[in-house]
């Protein structure tokens, strides 16, 4: 199991979008090619991923440097609609877990029924004492949490991976 690894990822671009999903989704699809994600799921295209966060919130993952321009274009596309687009790339950090022990490591920290988790699901949950979100990226798992607790999150994940 020692081939299970935890990697603190380089910064990615994160854009929070709030508004009616009927309004947000077409703009996001036009900009990124990512289709509208169903409840709790995510879709991906062109190296980007759009995640359903709540009934009136999406989050777009993209290249860190490109995020401000993408956000500006999304704002333009949304025009006068009641919608908010904000770059939040620096507010969160991502970790990548790979290897056969990844699920058990995560299951030791978060109340998630992994057997019943949709392959495209983004689960916003709790990792020990902090909020966190997880999803699959190919064979790997992504863990996202707030920036200020990145050190704590890394300690948790490294402690949970079997030696």
């Amino acid at each position: 199991m020692s081939d299970t690894t935890v990697l603190a990822m380089d910064p990615v671009g994160l854009i929070a979008l709030r508004g009616p999903l009927d309004v947000l989704a077409p703009a996001v699809e036009a900009e990124t090619g990512c289709a509208r994600p169903a409840q709790r799921l995510s879709t991906a295209a062109n190296g980007m991923r759009v995640m359903w966060m709540s009934p009136d919130e999406l989050m777009l993952i993209c290249d860190h440097a490109a995020a401000p321009d993408i956000a500006a274009r999304l704002t333009d596309r949304l025009g006068d609609a009641f919608a908010t687009v904000v770059v939040v790339s620096d507010a969160r950090v991502l970790f990548e877990l790979t290897g056969p022990g990844a699920v058990l490591a995560l299951a030791s920290l978060m109340p998630v029924d992994f057997a019943r988790l949709d392959p495209a699901e983004v689960r916003r949950t709790r990792m020990a004492q902090i909020p966190a979100a997880i999803w699959r990226e190919g064979a790997a798992w992504r863990v996202m949490c707030f920036r200020s607790v990145a050190r704590y999150a890394e300690t948790l994940l490294r402690g949970a991976v079997p030696a």
Partner: protein
């Protein structure tokens, strides 16, 4: 003498000897032994001393119910006290020690408590150690603590690690005996996700020990096949050494899995806490045999009949050569069979019943065992171990009819179903008079969110007695086929709660109910006599059932004695509450990963590492750590704060303000929304400008403050206090989602998106101009304005706001740039004398300016008007949160305590929280007060103590002198002054 038998022992592997030590003596056992069975095999019957009387004790049980055989296991960083020897697996090199004995287990001075036991009845401590009062804390309690108690506390930090695992299933079966195995198979066959946990290291429970036959197979073979079948199913998870510890609401169950407690080579987590969410819980937790209450029932060598059977059959160990069996039911006859089969002698069975005529009794009689009907034990002879018993009539007063020489007594007072998991969440019980047991009341289960029961109890745990009954019960509860078994009818039990019935006090005072806490029949009777009639009161008065075994053996016997004494029925007395965990769980297991650096999340700002590398003395603020000050080598914290204040006032100070809450509020209704949230008007704020605002709760109490910046027509950025960020964001969403759901407003918590650095002091503008790229002049960027731009190459938003009274800018950049900006400012600031300052300097400077601090000047009972903040409360607005609340009469009283400045006459510093003393006393005889200190500091700027406080009619009493309390000293005189101590006209910040 206890010893290892030549044959037998289904749990042990005689080909694998194991050595261990007990109180330093080398001993040998076998793989599969428990510490208890290994000690018995080595002739070590004595295993501990009782809690109060220091009586010699040995095993009375063979499992988790054991009250006596508590030992300390391990050494150093793996030392653990109070482990039950009956469940502690043996491993090579294990170190066990006895407890609560001095100087040694064999000769314990504390035994004098026993010889004087007639002076130590229940309630003794409460009655005796009352006077003189101070003696309890300083004399009596330390002495009593030394004289009583169990194992010593560990002295080193636990070296082991512990893990958690979240798990989900449709059905969780707790208990892997035949009932649990059949239940798991039924649920698994129905396609459910099944978890099956078993406390022990073998499947099958008691059935293989007691020799049942299922589907024509011996129990052991049937169990093996069942386990194999279950193991082959993908939808079944099976765990051995895993105890169902507690059942909680919504099908949440904690199970404790032991991972290394049975291993000599320990690596990885020691235990795993399974945090299971189960659709339903099936408790197949079996039953525990009850002791009988006769004089001397705690002498080493007296034990439960089923436990003796376990030692003989499971471990190949005997406690003695001649065992007298005393019983009120048929089951104990199985012990006679097991003993005879092992070549041991049974000189007599004392059966309190008359006219027994069941197959089991007749079979044992046929083996030549003498059965004495209607007889019981008057008393047990022997001290360190059993030497014989006096026989009496159960219905009599203990008149001795006969003496029988023996070295072991096996007792059976009937069985108590293990209903704990059923009861943890409120499942009710009913008293089965015929079986003499509390059983789960299927009509009153613990209920889930749907109002339906989510726990069911099967097998012996539900009160089924025979194998046939157990299997019928499982089939009835879960469906599916029941294995075929031969049903052997048993004779009825006879309820016996004291032996003999008419025992005088002298005998009752030696009948142990709670072995671990040394509670006897006489104590319960005394409790009843003294008016502790409720079972909960009697429990607390006598400590019955309050030891680490939680009364697994004693509770039913105790409440039966109480019922008898009160002349009422057992169901009327009822049981005490069953609470989790079923057996003690190590705190480390519950804590899991939450230890050391992961004990609690520590929030770090983007500049945290710099602070750490520059010797910051930390102050916890919420889960953040903020620098309190940056002491230099040889500098006290107080001196560091003085230096930081002076440097900021005279030159240039830098503050990491990244922790402040930053909430984006955006939408067509954003202005209207903020007008409701803040007491002042925000909708009139012009883009590019900032305004200080107050937030109150519905009752009008001040709960947060901060600067609001208007970004554009639809967008505001609201700064909150550090501790308020999450709370205020939730507060906003609460109103938007629940009350004003049709308002078009979005909120986003951007606190962590930005690093924010305050650049403060006369040289603040100079250092920003040196970085260059933005016009930060007074004309372009006046006080309470903000602007976006590129500052020294950083995309930045610069706010011209001040919490210190100095020329001050707060610069926000994306968090990833925060450290680089800080470094750039420190470097550019060298020529201006830049120094970082911490939260204490911040506090001092704001107090010098009379600025309030949420949490200092406010405590949840303060309205803005109390703090002289009327100017920040809009008179024009029709409504805002708190407006109605502030209109209440109590807030308009002229004698409200209101904010003032306080200056001591002698220049000293008032104590934080000190009260202003008024004349006279209140109705409680306490000194009246008329104010209190809310903030107090040494002001380096003014070189004297300054304080703020709330004083009755304070603002109307300027110049008056009040006296403030001082702990351990004379009151201190202080004058009421304006709360703004420094630069009243704001000349320094408005440059």
């Amino acid at each position: 003498m206890s010893r290892r038998l030549r044959t037998g022992g289904r749990r042990i592997d005689r080909s694998r000897p194991v050595s261990f030590t007990f109180d330093g003596r080398e001993m040998r056992g076998f793989a599969g032994d428990t510490v208890a069975s290994a000690l018995l095999a080595n002739g070590q019957l004595l295993m501990g001393r009782s809690f109060k009387y220091h009586r010699p004790r040995s095993v009375v049980g063979s499992g988790p119910e054991e009250p006596n055989a508590l030992v300390s296991i391990g050494e150093g960083a793996r030392f653990e006290p109070n482990q039950r020897a009956t469940v502690q697996p043996l491993w090579e090199g294990l170190v066990a020690r006895s407890q609560n004995a001095w100087p040694s287990l064999d000769f314990d001075i504390g035994r004098v408590n026993d010889y004087g036991s007639k002076f130590l009845p229940a309630g003794f401590y409460y009655k005796t150690f009352i006077h003189p009062r101070p003696f309890w804390k300083h004399v009596f309690e330390p002495l009593i603590r030394r004289a009583t108690g169990l194992g010593a506390a560990p002295t080193e930090a636990d070296r082991d690690t512990y893990a958690h695992r979240y798990a989900y299933c449709d059905t969780l079966v707790v208990g892997g005996g035949i009932a649990g195995l059949v239940a798991a198979r039924a649920a698994a066959a129905a396609g459910e996700r099944v978890m099956l946990v078993e406390r022990q290291e073998l499947w099958g429970g008691r059935a293989p020990t007691d020799g049942a036959t299922l589907d024509g197979q011996p129990a052991a073979e049937w169990v093996r096949d069942s386990v194999q079948a279950l193991g082959a199913m993908e939808n079944v998870t099976m765990l051995l050494r895993c105890e169902g510890s507690g059942v909680y609401d919504h099908g949440y169950v904690l199970c404790t899995e032991s991972l290394t407690d049975h291993l000599a080579g320990k690596s990885g987590p020691r235990q795993r806490l399974w945090r299971v969410r189960a659709g339903r819980v099936v408790a197949a937790t079996g039953a525990i045999e009850r002791p009988l209450s006769f004089a001397g029932n705690d002498v080493p060598g007296v034990l439960l009949a089923s436990a003796l059977r376990d030692y003989v059959v499971d471990y190949g160990v005997s406690l003695g050569e001649r065992t007298v069996i005393v019983t009120n039911n048929d089951d104990a006859y199985r012990t006679a069979k097991a003993l005879l089969a092992a070549g041991l002698r049974v000189p007599a069975i004392l059966d309190v019943r008359e006219g027994m005529n069941s197959p089991l009794v007749n079979e044992v009689k046929g083996m030549g065992v003498r059965v004495h009907a209607g007889r019981g034990i008057a008393r047990v002879h022997g001290d360190g171990r059993v030497t014989g018993v006096s026989v009496c009539a159960q219905s009599g007063d203990g008149t001795v009819l006969q003496e029988i020489r023996c070295d072991c007594v096996a007792m059976s007072g009937g069985w108590s179903p293990v209903v704990h998991l059923w009861s943890h969440c409120g499942g009710k019980l009913w008293w089965d008079e015929a079986r003499a047991m509390f059983r789960p009341d299927a009509d009153n289960p613990p209920t889930g969110a749907d109002g339906k029961g989510f726990v069911s109890v099967i097998g012996a745990a539900s009160g089924a007695l025979s194998t046939a009954e157990v299997l019928t019960d499982v089939a009835d509860t879960l469906g599916g086929p029941a294995p075929e078994v031969e049903d052997i009818a048993e004779g009825p039990i006879r309820q016996v709660w004291t032996m003999p019935e008419g025992a005088p006090h002298k005998l009752r005072a030696k009948m142990w109910l709670d072995y671990q806490n040394d509670v006897k029949v006489s104590d319960i009777r005394l409790a009843a006599q003294e008016g502790f009639e409720s079972v909960e009161h009697a429990k607390r008065y006598t400590t019955l059932g309050m030891a680490t075994d939680q009364g697994k053996l004693s509770n039913i016997n105790g409440l039966a004695v109480l019922a008898d004494r009160l002349d009422t029925t057992i169901p009327q007395v009822g049981t005490t509450t069953f609470r989790p965990p079923y057996t003690p769980v190590t705190i480390g297991t519950l804590a899991g990963e939450a230890r050391g650096v992961a004990f609690q999340p520590l929030r770090r700002t983007p500049v945290h590492d710099w602070h750490e590398n520059h010797g910051a003395h930390w102050e916890p603020v919420g889960q953040w750590r903020r620098p309190y000050c940056y002491p230099r080598p040889g500098e006290s914290h107080a001196d560091a704060v003085i230096r930081e204040v002076r440097n900021t006032r005279e030159r240039l100070g830098l503050l990491d303000a990244s922790t402040l809450g930053k909430i984006l509020v955006r939408g067509p209704d954003a202005g209207r929304f903020l007008d409701m949230l803040y007491t002042n008007m925000m909708s009139t704020l012009k883009p590019g400008r900032c305004r200080y605002g107050l937030m109150c709760d519905e009752n009008g109490f001040l709960m947060d403050d901060g600067v609001v910046a208007r970004i554009d027509d639809q967008t505001f950025l609201c700064h909150t206090t550090t501790g308020g960020a999450e709370r205020i964001h939730v507060w906003m969403e609460d109103w938007l989602q629940c009350e004003w759901w049709d308002w078009k407003v979005h909120t986003l918590n951007l606190t962590e998106q930005f690093a924010q650095i305050a650049v403060v002091g006369p040289k603040a503008r100079a250092v920003l101009e040196k970085l260059g790229g933005m016009d930060v002049s007074a004309e372009t960027l006046p006080f309470m304005a903000w602007t976006d731009g590129t500052l020294g190459g950083f995309e930045a938003r610069v706010f011209r706001i001040s919490f210190s009274g100095e020329l001050s800018y707060e610069i926000a950049v994306p968090a990833g740039q925060g450290r680089a900006l800080w470094d750039a400012l420190m470097e550019a600031g060298v020529e201006f004398g830049a120094m970082p300052y911490g939260t204490e300097a911040l506090h001092v400077m704001r107090a010098e300016k009379g600025f309030i601090m949420i949490g200092d000047e406010t405590d949840g009972t303060i309205i803005p008007q109390d703090l002289g903040l009327d100017w920040a409360i809009s008179k024009k607005k029709e409504d805002f949160l708190g407006k109605r609340g502030q209109g209440r009469d109590a807030f308009r009283k002229p004698d409200r305590w209101k904010l003032v400045g306080l200056e001591t006459i002698d220049g000293s510093i008032l104590e934080d929280g000190a009260y202003a003393i008024a004349d006279g006393t209140n109705e409680n005889g306490q000194r009246r007060t008329e104010g209190r200190v809310t903030s107090t500091y040494y002001s380096p700027t003014l070189d004297r103590g300054i304080a703020m406080g709330l004083v009755a009619r304070g603002p109307d009493r300027m110049g008056e002198t009040l006296r403030f309390t001082q702990i351990g000293g004379e009151p201190v005189a202080a004058r009421i002054v304006d709360p703004v101590f420094f630069d009243r006209d704001g000349e320094k910040q408005n440059v």
